[in-house]
């Protein structure tokens, strides 16, 4: 009973809360499995996938990547400010991070609206099934992340900030994996 109840070693040395890390790993497994399934199905129809990918707006998604990574940077600054006890600065930074999250969602909505306008939906092609599933599921996590950032901004303890920003960075990380594989890979 010595090693794993010691707060400074093993799982307990992780910043934030163990439960958040379990969630993050579970999420990465799910998105990882989704991307692997995408790649596997792509092998069965490379031309079809490339043709379908031609309908995507890689520029908007590229802008979205910059938006989300910047948001992650602001969240990281907020976490540092929290450790230094600057609550007002924490809230300003988190609000900016959340605002960029909202901007990400707005751009995403434009993207979905454009697809929908030319009659592309889940069933159009397996490519779009994965496109909607993976980016849609990711967008839901952006929504959840904004709520979490608001919550940890409200109760801005250093530990809460670690938990909340860890989730936000996971949302970032997943997007950085989705973007090249879905939008760019040919």
């Amino acid at each position: 009973m010595s090693d794993d109840t010691d707060p400074e070693t093993g799982f307990y040395a992780l910043p934030g809360d163990l439960m958040m890390w379990i969630l993050i790993i579970s999420e990465l497994i799910v998105f990882g499995a989704g991307l692997m399934a995408f790649m596997a199905v792509r092998l069965t129809d490379p031309q079809g996938f490339t043709a379908a990918q031609g309908h995507l707006d890689a520029t908007a998604a590229g802008i979205n990547t910059i938006v989300l990574v910047t948001s992650g940077w602001l969240a990281a600054l907020a976490q540092r400010a929290g450790a230094a006890g600057q609550v007002a600065r924490v809230r300003l930074l988190l609000a900016s991070a959340a605002a960029l999250g909202a901007l990400f969602l707005w751009i995403k909505m434009q993207e979905y609206a454009a697809k929908s306008a030319i009659g592309i939906d889940f069933e159009t092609h397996p490519f779009f099934t994965f496109y909607y599933l993976l980016t849609g599921f990711h967008a839901l996590h952006v929504v959840a992340g904004i709520v979490i950032l608001a919550l940890v901004g409200w109760k801005a303890t250093p530990r809460n900030l670690e938990v909340g920003t860890a989730f936000w960075h996971m949302v970032d990380l997943v997007w950085v994996l989705l973007f090249p594989i879905i939008y760019l890979l040919r």
């Binding site: 009973m1 109840t5 439960m19 579970s26 799910v30």
Partner: protein, 461 residues
């Protein structure tokens, strides 16, 4: 027994065991019908027998969970149950409803009647008056235990248990909504029993297992609770969307194939975690609890649930596989080992732990109980293998080669005979276990030389 109201559990366990006997006996009859299809075809058609087999299973498991809650909540909350009278009233309603169900099914009374007739939806065939009774009983139960916990000590075990029980009761409300569209009907139908066994019951299972580990191994509560939260999180994360592995087949959109495949594959994680949890607790444990049979059932439950629900579930959950195996004997193999491992063994672990305490004969007749454990578990394992082989052949002949259903069934006859044999072992084991739990009044087996030697080496604390 620290609290008088824990005694309530005894009558719940008794009712559960009686229904358990009915369930396995009915199972044996059904097993014989597979071997000899015209057996009882006039007086007990197969579909009626199957309803009784599955309904009595679900009801006795639930009654067992209620009893387990009445046993463990006082110890966790450190106070008596709010109202014993309500607890007995709740059981009375459940028993009346169960009797009503059996009579309605057997004689097909009030067919088509809105309030009194069989509703005809698999597992939730109960007439509406019984469903209303179940809701009232559930409300009484939730009121009673929630109030007890609110007024007493709140622990992770009781919180997770209550979360599971509240969610399972809320999900049952879908039983009242029966849209005319068959796909929609099936969708809501799936929110009941399948979100039970793939999500909410797992919470109940994890918390009862945690309670047993706490009592049997003496590991610190803090460590047990950490595991419990992780298991509960994994169960909900994987289970809620994992249930989506059924949805495509009932007419829901095709993207459910992928959501279901990915999340249901992860459903193995909470079961693996429960198995790891049980063994780590025993290794770390500092207490040599005399109730060895309860420990055997607890470990057996964690292992068999991992194989039955986890491994056998994964076997056919990916939609590319399920496209061929859907509804074959593979499903039956998974269903039997999963229900037995996860929920039957969990209840039996709790009964084995609690009955000696409740009956004031701490602990007794372990050997007969453990013999029943091995007989039942071995029988169930053999049945699972038999049905898995039968299902594999069935899948190939029927779904790949396109041979018609009844011709394939003829080819499976030998497997059904073997399954019946394993069923006999399970049913005998069940009867022995019920006898061992309910009847003997004293310890009948003296410790052998190995056990005496061990106790001489490590004197009791």
């Amino acid at each position: 027994m620290k609290y008088q109201t824990q005694k309530i559990a005894l009558i719940y366990f008794a009712v559960a065991l009686a229904l358990f006997a009915v369930q396995v006996t009915m199972g044996l009859i059904l097993g014989w019908i597979y071997v000899s299809p015209n057996f009882l075809s006039e007086i007990l058609p197969f579909n009626i027998g199957r309803m009784l087999h599955t309904n009595s299973l679900v009801v006795w498991l639930l009654v067992g969970f209620f009893g387990a809650a009445y046993y463990l909540i006082p110890e966790e909350a450190e106070r008596e149950i709010h109202s014993p009278l309500l607890a007995y009233l709740q059981l009375g309603i459940l028993v009346l409803g169960t009797a009503g169900v059996v009579v309605t099914y057997l004689f097909n009374l009030f067919d088509g009647n809105f309030l009194l007739g069989n509703e005809g939806r698999e597992f939730i065939e109960q007439p509406r008056w019984v469903k209303a009774g179940i809701v009232i009983a559930a409300l009484i139960f939730l009121y009673n235990v929630s109030l007890t916990v609110l007024k007493g000590r709140k622990t992770a075990i009781s919180n997770i248990l209550l979360l599971g029980l509240w969610l399972l009761a809320l999900l049952f409300l879908f039983a009242f909504y029966n849209p005319a569209n068959l796909a929609l009907d099936k969708q809501y139908w799936w929110f009941i029993v399948h979100l039970w066994v793939e999500a909410t019951w797992e919470l109940v299972m994890a918390s009862i297992l945690a309670f047993l580990m706490l009592k049997l191994t003496g590991v610190d509560r803090e460590v047990v609770e950490k595991w419990l939260y992780v298991i509960a999180a994994l169960a909900l994360f994987s289970g809620i969307l994992g249930t989506g592995h059924h949805y495509y087949w009932i007419g829901m959109p095709s993207y459910w194939q992928w959501i279901g495949s990915i999340f249901s594959t992860l459903e193995i994680a909470p079961f693996f975690a429960m198995m790891a949890f049980a063994f780590v607790m025993v290794w770390k444990g500092r207490r040599d609890h005399p109730n060895k049979a309860a420990l055997l059932w607890s470990l057996g439950c964690a292992v068999t649930a991992f194989f039955g629900a986890g491994v056998w579930g994964f076997l056919h959950t990916l939609h590319g596989v399920n496209y061929y195996t859907h509804g074959t004997q593979i499903t039956a193999a998974h269903g039997h080992l999963a229900f037995y491992g996860a929920y039957v063994m969990l209840n039996l672990a709790m009964f084995t732990y609690a009955m000696p305490v409740l009956r004031g004969r701490d602990p007794y007749n372990q050997v007969l109980n453990m013999a029943a454990f091995w007989l039942m578990t071995a029988g169930m394992a053999f049945m699972t293998f038999t049905l898995t082989f039968a299902g594999t052949i069935q899948t190939h002949m029927q779904r790949v080669e396109g041979v018609d259903f009844m011709s394939v069934q003829d080819q499976l006859w030998i497997f059904y005979v073997m399954r019946f044999g394993s069923g006999v072992a399970v049913v005998l084991g069940a009867y022995i276990l019920i006898y061992a739990l309910a009847f003997p009044r004293r310890e009948v087996v003296k410790p052998g030389p190995v056990q005496s030697h061990k106790s001489a080496e490590t004197p009791a604390e």
